[in-house]
Every structure is written in structure tokens, then in C-alpha cells.
């Protein structure tokens, strides 16, 4: 019985992690635009900034292809500059189209978040592990 409870808990943790990953995947482009909108940044610098704010699951190659897509779609501009005396880095900043996409995306996110909150916020569930 004890083993079964531990197994179920582990499974719940995995499912929870997958859900967070899926949720983040849908808004990671907005998060990147938001981070570089504060100050232009290169790839790894954006990863660090997002992790500092609790998005620890960023990584595993997820942001680089996304930056490539933003660049292809004309939502970011890039330029090269030395970073703190280090090598030349590719810095990203939102283009005007990117800032517009960010504003619209933030609005959509807030609307979705409020709607989901309206359903989930009142929920009070007691979980009893046997």
C-alpha cells in the first residue's frame, strides 16, 4: 500500500511537471519578448533572466529555436556586440512588430489567466493519501 502511494505521488509530480512545461510552451515567446523588451539580451542571458524569475524549466534547447522563429517572423532585431569584455554575442531586441505582438499577447494571456482563475481559484480540495 505504501509503495502504491509513493508511486502515485511520483506519477502526480511527473504529470504536474508536464503540465507546467506545456503551459510555458504556449507563452514562452511572450516571455522572451518581455525579457528582451526590458533590455536587449543574448540567448544564454535570457535563459538566466527567466530562471531567476522562477521559470527553471526553461532550457533543454527550448529557447534557441524559438528565438530563431521570432527572428524569421520579423518580431526581433539582432545586432552583435561584445559582452562584458567577452566574445561578440548576438543580442536580441523586439522590433516594432514584436512590441505589438507582445502587447497583444500579454492582453490575451491576462484574459485567459482571469478566465481560468475564475474556475480554479474557488476550488478547495483536501487530498488524503492513504
Amino acid at each position: 500500500m505504501r509503495d502504491k502511494g509513493v508511486g502515485a505521488t511520483m506519477r502526480d509530480m511527473v504529470v504536474g511537471s508536464q503540465r507546467r512545461t506545456e503551459l510555458l510552451r504556449g507563452v514562452l515567446d511572450l516571455c522572451l519578448l518581455a525579457v528582451m523588451n526590458e533590455e536587449p539580451a543574448y540567448g544564454y542571458e535570457m535563459t538566466k533572466r527567466l530562471r531567476e524569475r522562477g521559470l527553471a524549466i526553461v532550457g533543454e534547447g527550448s529557447i534557441y529555436p524559438l528565438l530563431g522563429r521570432l527572428e524569421r517572423d520579423g518580431l526581433v532585431e539582432t545586432y552583435r556586440a561584445a559582452s562584458n569584455g567577452g566574445p561578440m554575442r548576438k543580442y536580441y531586441r523586439p522590433s516594432s512588430a514584436g512590441r505589438l505582438a507582445l502587447a497583444m499577447g500579454v492582453s490575451e494571456w491576462r484574459a485567459a489567466r482571469d478566465a481560468v482563475d475564475a474556475v480554479l481559484a474557488p476550488v478547495k480540495v483536501e487530498v488524503i493519501h492513504e
Binding site: 510552451r25 543574448y42 534557441y64 522563429r69
Partner: protein, 180 residues
């Protein structure tokens, strides 16, 4: 340069990404990986565990892969390959069966006392043959053995070539590109 970046570079070369862009992306990744490693973050944590998939995904998202062949071409090549392989296999089976049956149909024989001419499965001399002297007689009754060996040889070579074509074709197919 790290092994991860080298594998990415190799994958971009295979996918036909222009060298200048591949070099640029490799240099950017190497800089980020160097800084990450100094922070104690591994390449796997930062970029994932599959360099080839990562490289293909990055190139695809940036839109720098060469144009894919049209669907018609993609379908036609396997069809031609299938047909070529099937014909080679049929010829191989035919030649092998004929040889195993052990009924040769034509060969070259020497007739020391006969006349030059074609002898059809019967041994009747060719009616307009020169009159005398030791001559070679072309006997169709025994000729098929070398023909079947030649067919067998070409069928084996053709099948080997088909295997090589299939291997090349499967290697040239792009890997599945994971979504970001």
C-alpha cells in the same frame, strides 16, 4: 569547441545549411555554452540531450534550410527504386532457378571433324557450311549456361546497387523536427 557544437555543425552541413550561417550559429552556441559551463550549467541542461534534433529544429525555425523537394519527387524516387529492386530480384530468381534446373541450352563446342555452322538443338549440320577441316560448332543446345551465369552476376550487382541507393535515400531524409 564542444562536442555538442561539433555535432550541430555536422548536422547543419548534412542538411545543406549555408556554411556562413552554420559558422555563425556554431560560434553563438559555443559562446553561450562556455558561459553556461562557467556557471555550472551543462550543455544538456541548456540545449537538451539530442544535438542533431536541436540543430535541425534551430535551422528549421530560422527558415534557413534549403527548399524541400516537391512531393512528386519525394514519391517518385522510392517508386523508381522499388521497381529497380523488384526487377533485379526477379532476374536473380530466374537465373538461379535456371542454373539449379541444370539444363544448359547453348554453349561453344569444338568439332574436330565436322563443319562450321549452327547446330540447332538437333545435331544437323548447317546446310551452307564450308566443306571440310576441324571447325568450331556453335551449339545452341548448350549455350544458356554462361548466359544464366551472366544474368546472375548482373542481378547480384544490381541488387547491391539497389541496397546502396536505399541506404542513401534513407540517410537523405530529414529527421523529424521537434516543435519548440
Amino acid at each position: 569547441m564542444s562536442d555538442f557544437v561539433e555535432q550541430c555543425r555536422s548536422e547543419w552541413r548534412r542538411l545543406g545549411v549555408p556554411d556562413s550561417l552554420a559558422e555563425e550559429m556554431a560560434a553563438d552556441l559555443a559562446s553561450d555554452l562556455g558561459e553556461a559551463e562557467a556557471d555550472g550549467v551543462s550543455a544538456e541542461e541548456l540545449l537538451g540531450s539530442d544535438p542533431r534534433s536541436f540543430a535541425a529544429s534551430l535551422a528549421a525555425e530560422r527558415g534557413i534550410l534549403p527548399a524541400a523537394p516537391s512531393p512528386g519527387k519525394v514519391r517518385r524516387r522510392p517508386f523508381v527504386l522499388v521497381a529497380f529492386t523488384a526487377i533485379a530480384a526477379l532476374v536473380l530468381i530466374f537465373a538461379a532457378r535456371a542454373l539449379l534446373a541444370g539444363q544448359p541450352k547453348a554453349t561453344l563446342v569444338t568439332n574436330l571433324s565436322g563443319t562450321l555452322g549452327h547446330r540447332l538443338p538437333s545435331t544437323a549440320p548447317f546446310p551452307f557450311a564450308p566443306p571440310s577441316g576441324p571447325q568450331r560448332v556453335f551449339d545452341l543446345g548448350n549455350l544458356s549456361a554462361p548466359v544464366e551465369w551472366i544474368l546472375l552476376f548482373f542481378a547480384i550487382v544490381a541488387l547491391g546497387f539497389a541496397v546502396w541507393l536505399w541506404a542513401n535515400w534513407s540517410r537523405s531524409r530529414p529527421p523529424s523536427v521537434p516543435s519548440a
